[in-house]
């Protein structure tokens, strides 16, 4: 028989508190049996998870609820890529905070299971390209009412062709070289390609792209330009992402 005052006190305890009591074994036999049943009952409510990495689990739960993750899931449906998208979004946060070791561990685990495709998605996260890609996927799905199967295949092609459809511009590359590279990509009739740039390199890229836009080169070559993202990081640097879409229905190199 559990004394009423002990019973009332036990009733107020949370699952972790009851586990502590149960593990310590400092309560009477009757109380122990009651605590055991109470722990089972509270566990079934699914309010707690116990892990050596509570920050990671909480972070992933937060990402799971994020607009970016939910949009991706809406685009590609239930898909193993979601495991990597979640980590890509996490790596984006870790990169902004400079958590290099945590990122390296994650890369090793992902490479072992998902190989290069997995690493590419993590790289999208660490370079700030993942959010713009998600936005692009979401935009084209809504605009064209594509199915999740189509979008999943499309995303797979984006991953496969990633190195050939992206330009990561840095200041030392110079404005003129960027202009030439963008022209080269348009002359190759790529279906889409992306330009990413950060900070002062972003300002340089902005000028290069404005030049191509103002002299109508982009339009003449059959492309539509969209600034899909401009975001400031924790160091106050702007991250720019542009997408170039081929507007012709013929002669373009499909992904």
């Amino acid at each position: 028989m559990i004394p009423p005052d002990v019973y009332s006190e036990l009733l107020t305890k949370s699952l972790p508190e009851l586990l502590k009591l149960y593990a310590a074994g400092t309560i009477g036999k009757d109380a122990i049996e009651w605590v055991k049943l109470r722990i089972k009952k509270l566990w079934e409510k699914k309010q707690y998870g116990f892990t050596p990495e509570p920050q990671i689990a909480s972070g992933l739960q937060r990402i799971n609820k994020s607009d970016a993750y939910q949009r991706t899931k809406g685009c590609i449906g239930n898909n193993p890529y979601l495991n990597l998208i979640r980590l890509g979004l996490r790596i984006e946060e870790l990169s902004e905070k400079g958590k290099i070791e945590a990122i390296a561990n994650m890369r090793n685990n992902v490479y072992d299971k998902y190989g290069n495709d997995g690493i590419k998605i993590l790289n999208m996260g660490s370079t700030g390209a993942l959010m713009p890609i998600i936005q692009h996927l979401s935009d084209i799905k809504i605009k064209n009412n594509y199915s999740q199967t189509y979008m999943s295949d499309y995303f797979k092609k984006v991953i496969e062709n990633w190195a050939n459809i992206t330009i990561f511009h840095q200041t030392e590359h110079r404005k003129e070289a960027l202009i030439e590279k963008i022209k080269h990509y348009m002359d190759a009739h790529l279906e889409i390609f992306f330009v990413f740039s950060i900070g002062t390199a972003g300002d340089q890229a902005k000028k290069a792209i404005s030049t191509l836009n103002n002299n109508r080169t982009i339009q003449k070559k059959g492309y539509m330009l969209t600034l899909i993202s401009r975001k400031e990081d924790q160091m106050g640097r702007d991250h720019f992402s542009w997408i170039f879409r081929n507007t012709y229905n013929f002669d373009k190199v499909f992904l």
């Binding site: 149960y22 699914k46 998870g49 990495e53 990671i56």
Partner: protein
């Protein structure tokens, strides 16, 4: 509707010490051998992580909500747990 229900649920993730972890596993039908390996009380077989498909040692074990999901802990395995179990069990 499903998404909004799922988004309203918040699981509290906490680290607990080994003895508390062992206590919870005992209550949930598992035991730990002298090497820290987790076994199923009923089958007396080593518990296999449903995500990594490997045996699980108590120190690296995450005990997660659902019909008791015990997994090896890495960023990737936790992410896979969210896809394979979390989203389904909370719906």
């Amino acid at each position: 509707m499903v998404l909004s229900i799922m988004n309203d649920i918040d699981v509290k993730f906490e680290d607990i010490d080994i003895e508390e972890k062992k206590a919870l596993m005992d209550i949930l039908g598992y035991y730990i051998d002298e090497n820290g390996l987790i076994y199923n009380k009923e089958t007396k077989k080593e518990h296999i992580c449903p995500v990594t498909k490997d045996v699980v040692f108590v120190e690296n074990a995450s005990i997660l909500p659902g019909s008791t999901v015990i997994i090896n802990t890495t960023d990737l395995s936790l992410s896979e747990y969210f896809t394979e179990f979390f989203e389904k069990i909370l719906n």
